[in-house]
């Protein structure tokens, strides 16, 4: 399937694209990116590697700080390159979350933003054009059907059809298979190949190696805002790709080995755990996990592969459809109240929305998770403000939380201080097990270090930590063992797994 695309004229070429939103943290760094005519070009990269920003430059949503772009050889003036100009140039993006109007039919949707017919609203004409496209590419869509009655796959096909109807010559597909069933995915690929063979260019963002191998002609890898490689698919190798995506093991990231002998008997287990949910690869499937006292088990993975589902299942917010949670050998119901009573704390990955109540005072947040416990904060169903104020005061002092007033509202705290409060709360009462989800997301270096120290200290005291994080550096720096969550399944890796191996597991490839 690999073709020598370099000999053909270039559809779009980006040269030296720079973009920085937050000073000192560039999102794109001198990125060169070329898309040939009639090629399927896969784009790979971790969360935050810059894929979306690069694509938003292509479709005119973001103006880069520096660099140039040529479409079909003609230079583009970024100052006057709006999304409508990109659309006129035949560049169309199909987003992960479809943007069709749910209460209207597919043909009616085709008329929105279509400026060819002037102000006329002519679903009938759109309908006949659509029928031709459907037949030509085998993209089956009920043209007269209301969008909200369509399946996810049908909606996506409708979006692709809309782009084609507008005469798209460059299609950008953002994780198009993420929400598709295997059958729908298989049906999509021939249509994309046919498009390619007719001269259309396709950028295909994906995290799935198998699909990239099956579909793409070339692959570009972005890492921390830089394009690190562009390869022909024939040259692909899962380990190499993983290494390219995640980088080499950094020298000097000292892994702190657990000082105490890890106990052989697991303190926290998930046995054959499944959750229900959309079939987008984020529901947990047959999850097996054993966590021992005195270790930090790091769960790496790209966002959207079941991290949130795992947290929600443990918190009792998402039902556990099958399987058992065991704490020290005893089966335990999911849910914060039940887990807490068995010494399991959950540090939420979304402190703003799920971890803390912004409108509650610090002491009220301190007591938040105990409202069904009774003492110490709710003896006889009454709120013991004095006890909660006293204990949060102690924590404020120990963790140097600012503002130090227990009566301050949590919404006034900075991200770092809010996380300190959440960490202090979850560590109070000496839990046996701490499940920490992205514990340093959005924190400055000092606060992040502080949180890391707390996790290590808990481990050194003989506690067990399940660290679920999309930050690979954090996982590698802290964990005694590492697993990878990919498409809702947890893949255990051998002790001392390197970045290439982890990267390959994230991409769903075989860790060679």
């Amino acid at each position: 399937m690999s073709r020598d695309a370099t000999g053909e004229p270039t559809r779009v070429s980006l040269q030296g694209i720079d973009k920085t939103f937050v000073p000192g943290r560039p999102v794109l760094r001198r990125v060169d990116f070329e898309i040939a005519r009639a090629e399927i070009h896969a784009l790979l990269g971790e969360n935050g590697a810059g894929k979306s920003t690069l694509m938003n430059v292509l479709i005119g949503l973001i103006e880069p700080d520096a660099g140039s772009m040529r479409i079909d050889g003609r230079p583009v003036d970024f100052g006057h390159f709006a999304p409508s100009d990109a659309a006129d140039a035949g560049i169309a993006m199909v987003h992960q979350h479809p943007t069709l109007v749910a209460a209207m039919t597919v043909e009616e949707n085709m008329c929105f933003g279509d400026r060819r017919g002037g102000a006329r609203f002519d679903p009938a004409a759109a309908s006949s054009r659509l029928r031709t496209l459907v037949e030509r590419y085998g993209l089956e869509v009920p043209i007269g059907g209301r969008v909200d009655t369509l399946s996810v796959g049908q909606r996506q096909r409708a979006e692709i059809l809309r782009a084609l109807d507008r005469g798209a010559k460059l299609l950008i597909l953002d994780e198009p298979t993420a929400a598709l069933t295997p059958g729908e995915t298989e049906a999509l690929f021939p249509a994309l190949r046919r498009l390619r063979d007719e001269g259309c260019s396709i950028v295909f963002i994906s995290h799935k190696l198998a699909e990239v191998e099956a579909l793409a002609d070339r692959v570009s890898v972005l890492r921390r805002g830089e394009r690190v490689a562009t390869l022909a698919v024939a040259e692909l190798d899962a380990r190499e790709l993983g290494r390219l995506m995640l980088g080499r093991d950094l020298p000097g990231v000292a892994r702190r080995v657990a000082p105490v002998a890890v106990e052989p008997r697991p303190v926290f287990c998930l046995r054959d755990v499944w959750t229900t949910g959309p079939r987008d690869g984020s529901s947990l499937e047959a999850l097996e996990l054993e966590l021992r006292a005195g270790e930090i088990f790091g769960v790496a993975g790209i966002d959207g592969n079941g991290q949130r589902e795992l947290e929600e299942m443990l918190a009792g917010v998402r039902p556990l459809s099958h399987g058992v949670i065991e704490v020290a050998g005893t089966p335990v119901e999911p849910g914060v109240t039940s887990l807490r009573s068995h010494g399991v704390s959950l540090l939420s990955g979304d402190r703003e929305r799920a971890g803390l109540v912004a409108g509650f005072r610090l002491w009220e947040n301190w007591a938040l998770k105990c409202s069904r416990d009774g003492p110490p904060y709710f003896p006889n169903g009454l709120l013991a403000a004095v006890a909660a104020r006293r204990d949060v005061g102690t924590a404020i002092e120990r963790f140097a939380i600012s503002p130090s007033d227990p009566d301050a509202e949590a919404g006034t705290l900075s991200g770092g201080n809010a996380q300190k409060l959440a960490v202090a709360r979850e560590l109070s009462g000496s839990p046996r097990v701490l499940v920490a989800v992205n514990p340093t997301r959005g924190l400055d270096v000092g606060s992040a270090n502080f949180v890391h120290e707390q996790l290590l200290a808990l481990r050194d005291r003989g506690g067990a930590v399940l660290l679920i994080s999309t930050e690979l550096d954090e996982i590698l720096a802290l964990s005694d063992r590492v697993g990878v969550l990919a498409r809702g399944r947890l893949h255990g890796l051998s002790v001392g797994a390197d970045r290439a191996e982890i990267g390959a597991a994230m991409l769903g490839g075989r860790a060679a």
């Binding site: 918190a315 009792g316 917010v317 849910g335 914060v336 109240t337 807490r340 959950l346 939420s348 979304d350 929305r353 799920a354 971890g355 803390l356 109540v357 912004a358 409108g359 509650f360 009220e364 007591a367 938040l368 998770k369 409202s371 069904r372 709710f378 169903g381 009454l382 709120l383 919404g411 006034t412």
Partner: protein, 356 residues
């Protein structure tokens, strides 16, 4: 207005509410002046009509009790993030069940059981009525804003049906129920019935529940952040059901008290819209149950004084509606200002600001 450092939040809240009232009075005064009436004289007539004599004060206090009870019903719900616009319907449902009990089920009950039973029946009626909306929301996801409003009309029509049919007085002269027997009438000093101190007592109890108990803690947690509450092991649906039932009971008692303490009978226009004014009362009180007491009193003054203003100064009593409207707008506007100054979720009041 940014909260000042060192000033307790409740002081800021009180000042805000007083400013809202003051500003509303100025706007209403301006409207009255524009209509060509002397505003100072109108105000004097209004206050005189509401507070100027023993009889006037009594009339005001009689309106104060249902406004306080329905105001509490709205406050408790809004605190829990439940947009209960149905206090009016819950009031009528309470009045209906209380009347059924007093005139049909146990008309000859002795005094010591009659009044407690009547209060309980009115609470039950309101709670059941509110629970319909709660069940629709928890079971089917129907917005309680819509369902409680619609249930208001249904409750009103049910009362209408009852007093034209099965509950109509034996003489059949008017569309109203038979008069309650003396045993069911609330104990009173003059016209000031026991429902007034009962309402104040319930305000205290609501405040205690909200700020001193685990139940109230969970209600407030759900109101401020349903997501965080769920992650803390609190089920928002359960809080919604219990809060709506509790609020319905309060509003239902308002209906029972009105029948057994003031009118002595059930008829269609029992409430001049207490359940709607209650929303303004709750907002002005910034959803604090104790603050509902003065807020309800203020609106009772407006209700009672409006008619006097019309009689005394010739100012149309709709001027008091202008006053009420401006108070509501300013209460919401200030909640919005507070939200923007912090740029974060502030829960119920902020959400009202967002939805309005």
């Amino acid at each position: 207005m940014r909260p000042l450092p060192g000033v307790p939040a409740f002081v800021v809240d009180v000042v805000r509410s007083l400013l809202a009232v003051l500003a509303a009075a100025l706007v209403a005064g301006a409207v009255i002046a524009l209509l060509g009436y002397p505003p100072v004289e109108a105000l004097r007539a209004l206050l005189g009509g509401a507070l100027g004599s023993g009889a006037a004060l009594t009339a005001t206090l009689l309106k104060f009790a249902p406004l306080l009870l329905t105001g509490l019903a709205v406050s408790l719900c809004f605190r829990c993030g439940v947009w209960n616009i149905g206090a009016e319907g819950q009031l009528y449902a309470g009045a209906l069940l209380a009347t059924i009990l007093a005139t049909k089920l146990m008309p000859s009950a002795p005094g010591w059981i009659a009044v407690p039973a009547l209060v309980a029946a009115s609470a039950l009626g309101g709670a059941l009525w509110a629970s319909i909306a709660a069940a629709l929301r928890a079971g089917r996801g129907v917005s309680e804003v819509i369902s409680t409003i619609l249930l208001n009309f249904i409750a009103l029509q049910l009362v209408s049906l009852a007093v034209h049919g099965p509950l109509q007085e034996v003489s059949g002269a008017y569309p109203q129920s038979d008069a309650l027997t003396a045993a069911f009438r609330l104990p009173a000093i003059g016209r000031l019935h026991m429902g007034i101190p009962l309402a104040v007592l319930l305000a205290g109890a609501s405040s205690w529940l909200l700020f001193r108990t685990a139940i109230g803690f969970r209600m407030r947690a759900v109101g401020l952040s349903p997501t965080a509450a769920r992650f803390a092991g609190i089920e928002p649906d359960r809080q919604l059901m219990s809060t709506l039932a509790l609020a319905g009971a309060m509003a239902g008692i308002a209906g029972g008290v009105e029948v057994a303490g003031v009118t002595g009978r059930l008829f269609e226009s029992l409430s001049p819209g207490y359940g709607y004014t209650a929303i303004a009362v709750a907002l002005l009180a910034r959803l604090h149950p104790l603050a509902v007491i003065p807020a309800a009193f203020l609106f009772a003054v407006l209700e009672a004084g409006g008619a006097a203003m019309q009689r005394g100064a010739g100012v149309p009593s709709v001027a008091t509606d202008v006053l009420k409207g401006v108070v509501i707008l300013l209460s919401i506007g200030m909640a919005l200002g507070r939200q923007r100054s912090r740029g974060r979720e502030t829960g119920a009041l902020g959400a009202i600001g967002e939805t309005v």
